[in-house]
């Protein structure tokens, strides 16, 4: 039922985006042609998370190779920022923050989706080279945190529990070794910025082709206005905050007085 509509959609996509989108090296026998349901996410006041449909096709000049089945890995990575990880210890009977490790740079959001079990889809060497798994994606940039394994693991554990980091195995659908699609769920607590989206094609654990694009996440409307005001004109923003507070405080008092007098 779904395949014809998707493939017809892809055919029009292929026609319109043919040369502009695929940028893999010319030597690769198989290349990715990609589409996104939307390439920008607008954070409005009632923003409640977003689902992005990532779909595409594999373009090839020669017949489908037969040695190993094609697999697809999709990663989406949010803006990176340094994170301080602190550990509590018992001291004089109370729990206090003792040791801390600064992870130089960890993505605010990181999701990996694959067609099969991660270990089978991607070899360890390739993971190391392209920094695809959650652990590698963080450690690759935190070069100065050696001897701090526990802290990095705590960072991943906490962010995974809150839904910011996820490994979604077998969530990429692949048809006829050519058409693939997956849905990425973005949480409501998104940070603004560029979300790097990477697609890897693998055969027998080896990356045969790679493609990158960016999803823009931006605040819009009132959210944009308030954020910009707070950064560019802090005194004005502070006065606005106080003005709202005083007026609503006074308004409520006046309203209740009116209700009482009636």
């Amino acid at each position: 039922m779904r395949r014809p509509t998707l493939s017809s959609r892809l055919r029009t996509l292929l026609a319109s985006l043919c040369c502009s989108l695929w940028i893999a090296s010319p030597a690769a026998a198989e290349q990715v042609v990609l589409g996104l349901s939307h390439d920008r996410v607008a954070i409005t006041a009632t923003f409640d998370g977003s689902e992005i449909l990532i779909f595409g096709a594999v373009k090839r000049e020669s017949p489908i190779p037969t040695e190993a089945p094609l697999e697809v890995v999709v990663t989406v990575s949010g803006p990176k920022a340094p994170v301080m990880v602190r550990r509590k210890e018992r001291d004089f009977g109370i729990w206090v923050n003792k040791d801390s490790v600064a992870v130089d740079s960890a993505p605010s959001f990181y999701a990996v989706a694959t067609t099969g079990p991660f270990d089978e889809v991607l070899s360890d060497t390739e993971d190391l080279r392209h920094k695809i798994s959650i652990g590698r994606a963080i450690r690759s940039v935190g070069a100065r945190i050696e001897g701090a394994q526990d802290f990095t693991e705590a960072l991943m554990r906490i962010r995974e529990a809150r839904g910011f980091y996820s490994l979604q195995e077998q969530t990429v659908a692949l048809d006829e070794q050519t058409l693939f699609r997956t849905a990425m769920r973005m949480p409501a607590d998104l940070i603004e910025g560029e979300y790097l989206t990477r697609i890897f094609l693998t055969r027998g654990g080896e990356v045969v082709s790679q493609y990158e694009t960016v999803i823009e996440v931006n605040k819009v409307g009132l959210e944009r206005f308030l954020f910009t005001l707070s950064r560019d004109h802090p005194p004005l923003y502070g006065l606005l905050a106080l003005f709202i507070a005083v007026v609503s405080g006074w308004g409520a008092a006046a309203l209740f007085q009116m209700l009482r007098d009636r």
Binding site: T44, T46, L239, L242, V246, A254
Partner: protein, 307 residues
């Protein structure tokens, strides 16, 4: 219904925030405390970053205090002169407090210090108030007219006497200024309005009548929290107007109900309730320090240096 907060960069349930604001507003109107000591930990709990919670809490307290103080002004239960004297001391104290805060920050243990401050002050104030008001309540139950003990001690032998008409006091100006300075320091260090210290200090140290205390405390809190809001908005840019608005819509309504409930209860009953509340928060914070947390690691994003 979820609302995305532009400064905190998290999405929260609007009704939960409205409810929080309303609850704190009721307390504010009833007891004349800003409710910051309760609101700030609750905001942490629903996932607001601490720096945003402290700054936005201050902004919300401005609104509920304005709402509450107007109701008290109409009833002529605000000692404006006393409030101004306390505020003068408060501003001096806040400046001192910021210096202390920054020094502790450089030592890297400011979180622990703030929590310990909460536990110690909430514990002492709560316990003293609870014992005192329980005694007062027992005495009034026994039927005898409540004996008003006038502070004829050292407070009255100090120089620079001033008449505070609304409070019916003729005392030296030194104790109110000292109380103001002390509360100002706590305000800057603990990020609260300081009402929970101010109210007992006015009752027990200055001997002000309980009726006047609540309105005067609210009046004093307005200026202190307004100054705190501006300071945070300018230096840290952590005041979230959307969050503050949701909190204060709940808060201003709550404050009106609180003021009404406050007039229905006896002064002793009011004090016992506030004492119990203070002890409850103190107990919760103490437990957090004593029990092993389920997650001993914590994360905090390091803000990129401001432009």
């Amino acid at each position: 219904m979820n609302i995305y907060l532009p400064i905190a960069e998290v999405a929260v349930n609007a009704f939960v925030v409205l409810g929080l604001g309303g609850m704190v507003g009721v307390l504010s109107g009833m007891f004349g405390v800003g409710g910051g000591f309760l609101l700030t930990p609750l905001l942490f709990f629903i996932g607001i970053p601490p720096s945003v919670a402290v700054a936005t809490g201050a902004n919300q307290i401005v609104a509920s205090s304005v709402s509450g103080v107007l109701a008290h002004l109409r009833r002529r239960t605000v000692d404006i002169k006393m409030g101004a004297v306390l505020q003068g001391g408060g501003l001096v104290g806040a400046t001192l407090g910021v210096a202390i805060f920054n020094y502790l920050k450089s030592l890297g243990q400011v979180d622990l210090f703030v929590t310990l401050c909460y536990v110690i002050f909430l514990g002492i104030v709560g316990a003293l108030m609870f014992i005192e008001s329980l005694n007062a309540l027992r005495k009034s139950r026994r039927g005898g007219a409540p004996v008003r003990k006038h502070h004829r001690g050292w407070v009255h032998s100090l120089p620079f006497k001033v008449r505070f008409r609304t409070s019916g006091l003729y005392i030296s100006i030194i104790p109110p200024v000292a109380v103001g300075v002390f509360v100002g320091i706590l305000t800057a260090v603990m990020g609260v309005g300081g009402g929970f210290i101010m109210v007992p200090a006015m009752i027990y140290l200055l001997g002000m009548p309980t009726k006047v205390v609540v309105g005067t405390s609210l009046f004093q809190i307005i200026l202190v929290t307004a100054a705190t809001t501006m300071m945070h908005a300018i230096t840290n840019q952590t005041v979230d107007i959307v969050l503050a608005f949701l909190l204060l819509v709940g808060g201003v309504v709550g404050a009106q109900f609180g003021t009404r409930i406050g007039t229905l209860l006896k002064a002793e009953q009011l004090r016992i309730l506030l004492a119990l509340l203070v002890l409850l928060v103190c107990g919760k914070l103490a437990l957090d320090l004593l029990l092993q947390p389920s997650e001993i690691y914590s994360l905090s994003t390091i803000r990129k240096a401001a432009q």
